[in-house]
């Protein structure tokens, strides 16, 4: 049994690399898109605000799995054929983007109005107020839910296996298919996911301390 699993390790490692690659893409793309749209939601003109609001509410109301199947199996109906890998990444990114929009909105809304006013009073322009006063403070409140979201993204990436992509989850299932060693392989898989997410939450705690306004 042990030798069979050892023999499968390179294959599992490849799957793990796909998991990390999907997670990295989803997390990065959704961060950029979510922050931009989130700023649009808070400060944009009314039509943009409505559009972002509708996007976010709709996406968050759909299970990720449905979203993923819709992108992969549904969009070809309107002529958009995406390879399974990119269909999965797009679906997960859409979902995560909607969450990032809400984290950003919440973080910015939590900064008291007096902060903007004090920044205005010393003559900062809108952009300066955002970059020097609002965002540095909002960042601290954005960080904890966002890191939570990152660990969710790593775990959620296992869904891509349902589109036949050989990520860690799929690799494990395939090795189990050959070896019938379900228990040890699922435990191994769980440990790997856990290790990644535990490392992330440790990093998060360090970051939060780094950006606290009170020194310890």
């Amino acid at each position: 049994m042990a030798s069979q699993i050892l023999y499968a390790l390179p294959f599992l490692a490849k799957g793990f690399a796909v998991t990390l690659w999907v997670s990295l893409l989803v997390v990065t793309l959704s961060l950029v898109a979510g922050v931009l749209l989130g700023v649009g939601l808070v400060y944009g003109p009314a039509p943009l605000r409505w559009a972002v609001r509708i996007f976010s509410d709709t996406i968050r109301g759909i299970p990720i799995l449905v979203l993923m199947f819709f992108v992969y199996y549904g969009l070809p109906a309107v002529g958009l054929h995406l390879p399974s890998f990119w269909a999965a990444v797009l679906a997960l990114t859409l979902f995560k983007t909607a969450q990032v929009i809400e984290y950003l909105r919440g973080a910015v809304a939590s900064i008291p109005k007096g902060q903007s006013e004090a920044a205005m009073a010393i003559g900062l322009t809108f952009r300066q107020r955002l970059t020097s006063v609002i965002f540095p403070q909002a960042f601290r409140r954005f960080l904890p839910p966002w890191i939570n979201g990152v660990t969710d993204a790593v775990k959620g990436s296992a869904l891509v296996s349902l589109l036949g992509i050989t990520d860690l989850m799929q690799a494990i299932n395939q090795v189990i298919g050959r070896t019938y060693e379900a228990m040890p392989l699922y435990i191994l898989g769980a440990l790997i996911y856990f290790a990644v997410n535990y490392a992330l939450s440790l990093a998060s705690r360090r970051l939060e301390r780094r950006f606290a306004f009170i020194r310890e």
């Binding site: 007096g114 004090a118 205005m120 009073a121 010393i122 003559g123 900062l124 809108f126 540095p136 403070q137």
Partner: protein
């Protein structure tokens, strides 16, 4: 009104300013002049429009009609009475000409005391970090906090935070300083240290428009006192005149009587 008191154009010239929040008229045709070097105090019951007036002067609030000029330049709106707001860049430049100190301090919690003062100096005044730091240290010294330059706001007492707030405003070398009930959120024993700073600025000739409930301070430090009631200017004059018990202004007498009853 006070036009005859001394010659020269007013630094701050508020004329017939009105403003309504929906159906509530908060300012009714308010006119008020502040000359260079003057300290003008606005008193009045809560809801009389004092704070709104102050916030209109640096355009944190817009106003519906009338004109507010600083050094002859219209605040907030483009010239020619078009009610067209100035551009964002223009507004920012105008606001840099007025300093404001807030009731709730509003220090930037992520920056040190010096950092709070340096932000406007580097971003708006274009000073280098080193120059800005020097100016910040100078003003922190003036408000008695030279040793707190690298403290975060959360590490300072309320009185110390407000003194940093004052330093942040005056370091920009504004033409006029607006003080909005700056001691109202302080514990009574911390009020004195903040007022002492304001007094020393007044002695240096800083032009100030302030809203306060500290009557004794208003009496001692002001060139003139403006009494506001129901969104309008009800009385203007030198402190002795306005705070006299035998005033003939009915509303003012009621206000002062209530004030004395609750404070003495």
């Amino acid at each position: 009104m006070s036009e005859a008191s001394n010659a020269g154009p007013a630094l701050l010239d508020v004329r017939d300013v009105s403003k309504a929040f929906g159906a509530v008229e908060v300012l009714r045709s308010v006119s008020l002049q502040v000359k260079r070097g003057e300290v003008v105090t606005v008193i009045g019951p809560s809801g009389s429009g004092k704070t709104t007036l102050l916030r209109c002067v640096n355009f944190l609030e817009s106003y519906d009609s009338g004109s507010i000029r600083i050094d002859g330049k219209e605040v907030g709106y483009r010239e020619a009475g078009t009610r067209q707001r100035r551009s964002e860049r223009d507004l920012a430049a105008m606001r840099a000409e007025t300093g404001m100190v807030f009731q709730s301090f509003n220090l930037f919690p992520h920056l040190t005391a010096a950092g709070n003062i340096m932000l406007g100096l580097t971003k708006v005044r274009g000073k280098s970090q080193a120059e800005a730091r020097q100016v910040a240290e100078h003003w922190l010294g003036r408000v008695g906090l030279a040793h707190k330059a690298d403290s975060l706001p959360a590490e300072l007492s309320g009185g110390q935070q407000q003194r940093v707030g004052i330093a942040r405003a005056v370091a920009m070398e504004p033409k006029i300083l607006l003080l909005d009930e700056i001691t109202s959120a302080l514990d009574p024993e911390l009020v004195g240290e903040v007022l002492a700073v304001v007094r020393s600025l007044a002695e240096d000739g800083m032009t100030m428009l302030m809203v306060t409930h500290e009557m004794a301070f208003a009496r001692d430090a002001s060139s003139r006192i403006v009494f506001m009631a129901d969104g309008g200017v009800s009385a203007v004059g030198p402190p002795k005149e306005i705070l006299a018990e035998e005033t003939t202004n009915e509303r003012l007498r009621t206000f002062l009587a209530r004030f004395r009853a609750s404070h003495f």
